[in-house]
Symmetry: C3
Subunit: 138 residues, 3 copies
């Protein structure tokens, strides 16, 4: 069985944000799913999705620091500069983290580890609301 | 329902290439799919797949510049050097971008955002044609 | 059809490890699958999964060298330092390589390329055994 919904995540500042609850509120209902997969797709090229530690805000802050160091706004080789200094680094960061997640579902809920949560990685200074497509296969 | 095809992408020079149309031409037909997932797998360890901005060639050029800066051919720590200076960096870049994409299908076509396109990331100087496996679940 | 199993990978030292055989031994049986997808999920935020070259141990050693260079333990910006110098870099590396793989299955086995194998990327000094969820859709 396949169910599909669209989710709009509220606008957030640049950085890494824990959005597990907001995603689950908009995704197809998992309660009756014995075993399956929940696929999430972000319909943007300057924001991304990953799963990481769900407890400490300093982990998410350190993700942002590392990303800014690994993909520098002041790198001399950028040629796509028309949309501002945060734009081209946002494209790179988006592909590094990736545009989608495929999450296991088991016994009516996500089969994540204890410390795992879903991150929205907002790579633009002013990215606005972000649209996802959620597809449940069960 | 599951359909599977093999796709051969023509040889391309090292760099990031927009291949959405070539992929769709070889993938299972999406026209009758109300909701589903299209999975793409690249059968190589020195080329990869990602989704990013589909309009400006300079974005794809900047991807190549960043990748060459982040994974340097002249790094002192490489030990796997037998296959040339572009080989080991190609393996790293391939895992950074990833070997597969799982794309949402909705109403008979890919449910991508307006600016999203499929990239073949060719990390070798002379990688040759690249083989994909496309699997449609609907 | 959907089948799901849990796999426990034995503890390994920090580094990149070829685990194709250990994963297949614990995953749902692929022998009767004409076409499908095998999804693997790692239930941790400091270890990850990727696919890369399955022949040369020096490739896997070079992955570890690059990762340690790209995500430095001595970076000045880490604030999440309570769990040791290898912890925060492990979180970043885990998201770079990614928490899951979706692998094509064809004619009763994984439809990987000749040189592709599954890596467990162990980013902690002492990560212990690692748990996976394997989901087969066929």
């Amino acid at each position: 069985m396949i169910e599909q919904t669209e989710i709009t995540l509220q606008a957030r500042p640049r950085g890494f944000h824990l959005v597990t609850d907001e995603v689950l509120a908009g995704a197809p209902d998992l309660a009756d799913v014995e075993a399956g997969l929940l696929h999430l797709w972000i319909r943007h090229t300057s924001a991304s999705l990953t799963v990481n530690e769900n407890a400490s805000p300093d982990v998410r802050r350190d993700f942002e620091s590392w990303a800014n160091d690994a993909v520098r706004e002041d790198a001399s080789y950028w040629t796509h500069t028309l949309e501002g200094p945060d734009d081209m680094p946002a494209h790179i960061k988006a592909s590094l983290m990736g545009p989608s997640l495929t999450l296991p579902v088991s016994g009516g809920s996500l089969a994540l580890g204890t410390w795992q949560g879903i991150y929205l990685c907002e790579h633009r200074d002013d990215g606005g609301a972000r649209g996802l497509v959620a597809t449940l296969m069960s």
